[in-house]
C-alpha cells in the first residue's frame, strides 16, 4: 500500500494549528510490577499530545489518589514537580506494600482551551498490578466519568482487543465517542494522514467500545462528553468537556 507521509510544510502547519487530542496521562515505569522489579512503582503525570510528544502545562491537580483493595489513599501531597515533554508535569514514587491492582487516578484543574471555547477536564486513570496478583483489575472508582475495563487493563498482547464501558455519573453512555492515541515515546511512529494520529471508535448502545492496537506500547483511550454544567470564563458561561481517560499497555508478542 502506498503511504503518503506528511510533508515538513504540512507538519509545520499542523504544529501551528491548535491540536485537538489532549490527553491526561499517568504512565508508570511498568504496569506489571513483579517482586524482581523492586517494591515500588514510578509514575509520570502530564497533559500532552502523546502521538506528537507535545507537552502542555499540567497545573497541580485537584485530586490524585490510589485505590487498592477498595481503600482510597490521597497522594496529592506527594507529587513532585517535573518536566514532561518540555512542560510542567509531575512524578511520584509509590511503594507497593502488598500484591493486587493499584488504580492511580487524577482529576486535573479545568483547562481553558480558547480554540474549543470550552474547558477540558480529563479524569485520568491507570491500573498497575503488583506481584502477580491481578485482583481488582476491573475496579470501578466511581469517578464523574470513567472507562470501566472489560478487558484486563494490563497483560495484553499487542493486537489483543481492549474493551471498556464508558460511564458518566455511574451510568453507561450509549454510542459515546472514544478517541484513541499512541504514546509515541521513542517508537518513531508516523501518521500517513493526520486522521490517524487520533483514531476514533464509538461505543455501542450499552456504552461498550472495542479497540485493537497495531503495536505494543502505551495506548490512551479518551471518552469525551459535554458536562451538564458550565464554568465562567471572561464573564460568560462556557461548556466543559469531560474526558474519561484510561491508559493501557500492550506487550510485544514474543512468538514468531
Amino acid at each position: 500500500m502506498k503511504h503518503h507521509f506528511l510533508t515538513a510544510s504540512l507538519a509545520a502547519m499542523i504544529a501551528a494549528t491548535p491540536a485537538v487530542a489532549h490527553y491526561g496521562m499517568i504512565i508508570p515505569n511498568d504496569p506489571m510490577i513483579s517482586q524482581e522489579d523492586g517494591r515500588s512503582v514510578s509514575l509520570t503525570m502530564s497533559f500532552s499530545h502523546p502521538f506528537e510528544m507535545d507537552g502542555m502545562m499540567l497545573d497541580k491537580p485537584v485530586a490524585f489518589s490510589v485505590t487498592h483493595e477498595g481503600n482510597k489513599t490521597d497522594l496529592l501531597g506527594g507529587l513532585q514537580d517535573a518536566t514532561v515533554m518540555d512542560d510542567q508535569g509531575y512524578t511520584l514514587e509509590y511503594p507497593l506494600d502488598r500484591p493486587g491492582t493499584y488504580i492511580f487516578a487524577m482529576e486535573p484543574q479545568p483547562y481553558w482551551e480558547p480554540a474549543e471555547d470550552a474547558f477540558i477536564i480529563h479524569y485520568t486513570k491507570t491500573y498497575v498490578t503488583a506481584y502477580g496478583d491481578d485482583e481488582g483489575w476491573d475496579t470501578e472508582l466511581g469517578l464523574k466519568t470513567e472507562i470501566v475495563p472489560l478487558s484486563k487493563p494490563f497483560g495484553l498482547w499487542e493486537h489483543n482487543v481492549f474493551q471498556g464501558i464508558v460511564k458518566m455519573d455511574g451510568a453507561p453512555v450509549p454510542y459515546a465517542e472514544v478517541e484513541v492515541e499512541f504514546l509515541n515515546d521513542g517508537a518513531g511512529a508516523t501518521a500517513p494522514d493526520e486522521l490517524m494520529i487520533t483514531q476514533t471508535v464509538k461505543a455501542d448502545a450499552d456504552g461498550v467500545f472495542t479497540y485493537a492496537p497495531p503495536s505494543d506500547g502505551w495506548w490512551g483511550f479518551a471518552a469525551l462528553n459535554t458536562a451538564d454544567y458550565t464554568l465562567p470564563q471572561d464573564g460568560e458561561d462556557k461548556a466543559v468537556e469531560l474526558g474519561a481517560v484510561i491508559w493501557v499497555h500492550f506487550e510485544e508478542w514474543t512468538g514468531r
Binding site: 517482586q35 524482581e36 522489579d37 523492586g38 506494600d97 502488598r98 502477580g132 491481578d134 485482583e135
Partner: protein, 115 residues
C-alpha cells in the same frame, strides 16, 4: 538495592522450583515481615484461598532452614528468631500441583522493622 538482590535470589529460587502441572490459574505467594515474624500468604490467581500446602523457608544461599504446613486460611507464620535471616529468606509454597515463591530481602526486614 532491592531489585538486584531480589533478582539474584530469584535465580536460585527459580532453579530450585521445578515447574509442576500448570493449571488455568497460578499460585500467588506473598510474604510480609515485621520485627517479629514473616507472614506467608498464598492464594490462587482466581482469588480462592490455598487451603493446604507445604511452606519451605530457605536462606539466601538456598539452604533449607525450616518447613511448615500452610494453614487452612492460606497463611503461615515464621518467627524471625527461628531462622537466620541475615542474608534474606526465600519462602516457597508447594501445593503439589502449583508452586511459587516470595523473596524476603534484608532490606524488606530492615524497612519494615524500622531499623
Amino acid at each position: 538495592m532491592d531489585g538486584a538482590v531480589i533478582r539474584a535470589m530469584a535465580l536460585t529460587a527459580a532453579a530450585a522450583l521445578a515447574p509442576v502441572g500448570a493449571g488455568a490459574h497460578q499460585l500467588v505467594v506473598f510474604a510480609s515481615v515485621d520485627c517479629e515474624a514473616v507472614t506467608v500468604e498464598a492464594k490462587f490467581s482466581n482469588g480462592k484461598v490455598t487451603q493446604q500446602g507445604d511452606v519451605r523457608v530457605l536462606d539466601g544461599a538456598n539452604n533449607l532452614l525450616t518447613t511448615l504446613p500452610l494453614d487452612s486460611d492460606g497463611t503461615a507464620v515464621v518467627p524471625l528468631d527461628s531462622v537466620d535471616h541475615a542474608g534474606g529468606l526465600v519462602v516457597e509454597v508447594d501445593t503439589g500441583s502449583h508452586d511459587n515463591y516470595w523473596i524476603v530481602t534484608p532490606e524488606d526486614i530492615a524497612r519494615n522493622c524500622g531499623s
